[in-house]
Subunit: 334 residues, 2 copies
């Protein structure tokens, strides 16, 4: 049995290219005592992957050269060499990487209940992006009913959940997304109050018109110009959650810092960084609550699934081109 | 009796020049019912003055053209037209502006006890800069014993008090200042643990050597390159207090935002803006505590006093050139 794997070969400067990764087909080694073999069905494609490739101090060590590209994944246990915690057929969410088969001693592997949601949903709304949204908007931003909440990357895997949870909690929600289709989606399907199309609107003018009173919470997934504009609209004692900065991840030079950061002083506001891994112990509780919102129809999940591990790089590029709708996922089972 | 006044004539772009202010000599109008006349002794010269001249939304309205330049001040009541709260001879801290005599209905005027400290100390360590330091480091940064605290503008009116309070509370304190004299002062006179001379040292190298473990708190008075460097040294769950950005106040273009702001994400840190006016109700308590530290010799106060209202602009320029030692004050009584 062979395993197609995406191997990380060269650290990219700027946008990854054909030298960054290499597809290899390798035999699967025999399991050691206590190990399980997972046949992977779906791989999660996330903006954070770009950061993991840089050899800089971060919240997690960089991906090593010549190792399998790091990724969250979901699949099923197909072999078990005496690991008492798993059974053949268990559906497992893990950090399996971009490959068709993953061997694990069980660390970082979570059993999920296939009856509760589909596999793609378990790496989207009930996986890392959903957890990021849940803890980011509820614990880091600590939203209250009536808050005005602005979120960027609003049609994306994290932003779409952030906005929906804020609506569930009684906030007014304005989303920033790129293009009419995404803006229509967040208004008509997800129930956001307002949408700003940063590709066709001047962001400052749009914010003036669509959040005339300013914002209590800004949840930032993008950085750059949009972060700067949002900082100019903070209400008193506002909170800015720094979740990501997708507009800056491929910069070859220094990233653009937010010129308007002194707005934090003027409005006595707070800017907080977050990393979802800090909330691991509460993932179960969050998944149960979000699972019930999904069943009640209060929360909608959208996945954009591409097929074939050979298409990893092309699929990954959609993160940055914005050519996707919802959580980006690669199906690797053949 | 005539009143020499510095009148704000033109909003500066960049550094104020000879067109920004004009010295006028005007007669003092008769007091209305309930008003007092204050003969001003000392004017507080503060970096915040630069911001007050811009016609932009801020924490306080901009200074109006053709009005007396805004400033904190201290002086004595010399006339009283039936204001029951004050007596002739009372020593008064107020927002009297850059002029020799100020008329007030008493709002924003605080009586101070001349026996407790000198007049200059009441507009320095026991005035706005001292209050900013006190609430900034104790309430906003919320320091704990053992914290590693980094402060910029460390020989200045705010920074010198920030560092000394952090030492009183059992922190390790590193100060950033410009020039050997200031660095020697904060180490030898104020008891800081380390000093970095940003004029002669590479700030990144110096931080690496002098805070090898990183910092729990960074108190920023300067912005720009130093803020960026400090962000690269945050420990986990650190706090950055944004108190000011003197390096950026005269920029004609956009200010430089902190490129390294994503360090907030990596280290799960918080950046908070503050404005001292929010703590007005607790100024009395803070002044009593800082007053007793002054008497016990735990806190040292240094004022740099220049003379003559005619020299206002030259004195003001010392804020930005750094040619001063301690709290900058202008004596306006002749």
């Amino acid at each position: 049995m062979n395993n197609k794997q995406i191997i990380f070969k060269n650290r990219p400067e700027g946008i990854p290219d054909q030298n960054t990764w290499q597809l290899e087909v390798n035999p699967i080694p025999e399991l050691q005592e206590g190990e399980i073999l997972i046949q992977q069905y779906y791989i999660s494609i996330d903006p954070a992957m770009r950061g993991w490739m840089n050899d800089t101090k971060s919240y997690i060590p960089p991906v090593a050269i010549d190792s399998v590209m790091r990724a969250g994944s979901i699949g099923k246990v197909i072999q078990n060499n005496n690991n008492p915690n798993f059974q053949i057929g268990d559906c497992i969410s893990s950090w399996g990487g971009v490959q068709q088969y993953a061997i694990s001693d069980g660390e970082g592997c979570f059993k999920v209940d296939e009856k509760a949601a589909s596999m793609p949903t378990f790496i989207g709304t009930l996986g890392m992006p959903g957890m990021t949204a849940y803890f980011g908007i509820l614990e880091v931003a600590n939203i209250k009913e009536g808050d005005i909440v602005l979120v960027s990357g609003a049609a994306g895997a994290v932003g779409s959940i952030v906005g929906q949870i804020a609506k569930i909690k009684g906030c007014k929600v304005i989303g920033i997304a790129g293009g009419k289709e995404k803006c229509d989606y967040i208004i008509n399907e997800l129930g956001f109050d307002e949408a700003i199309d940063y590709k066709s609107e001047n962001i400052y003018t749009a914010l003036k018109n669509k959040c005339p009173k300013g914002v209590d919470v800004y949840f930032d997934n993008v950085g750059g110009v949009i972060l700067d504009a949002a900082l100019s609209k903070l209400r008193m004692h506002a909170t800015v959650v720094i979740c990501g900065a997708i507009s800056q991840y491929n910069n070859k030079k220094k990233i653009n810092g937010p010129s308007n950061y002194l707005s934090l002083l003027v409005t006595r506001s707070t800017m907080k960084g977050m990393v979802v891994m800090d909330y691991t112990k509460d993932f179960g509780k969050a998944a149960r609550e979000m699972g019930s919102w999904l069943h009640e129809g209060k929360l909608k999940s959208r996945e954009d699934i591409y097929e074939g591990i050979e298409n990893f790089q092309e699929t990954y590029n959609r993160l940055f081109s914005g050519e996707k709708s919802g959580k980006l996922i690669l199906k690797v089972i053949e």
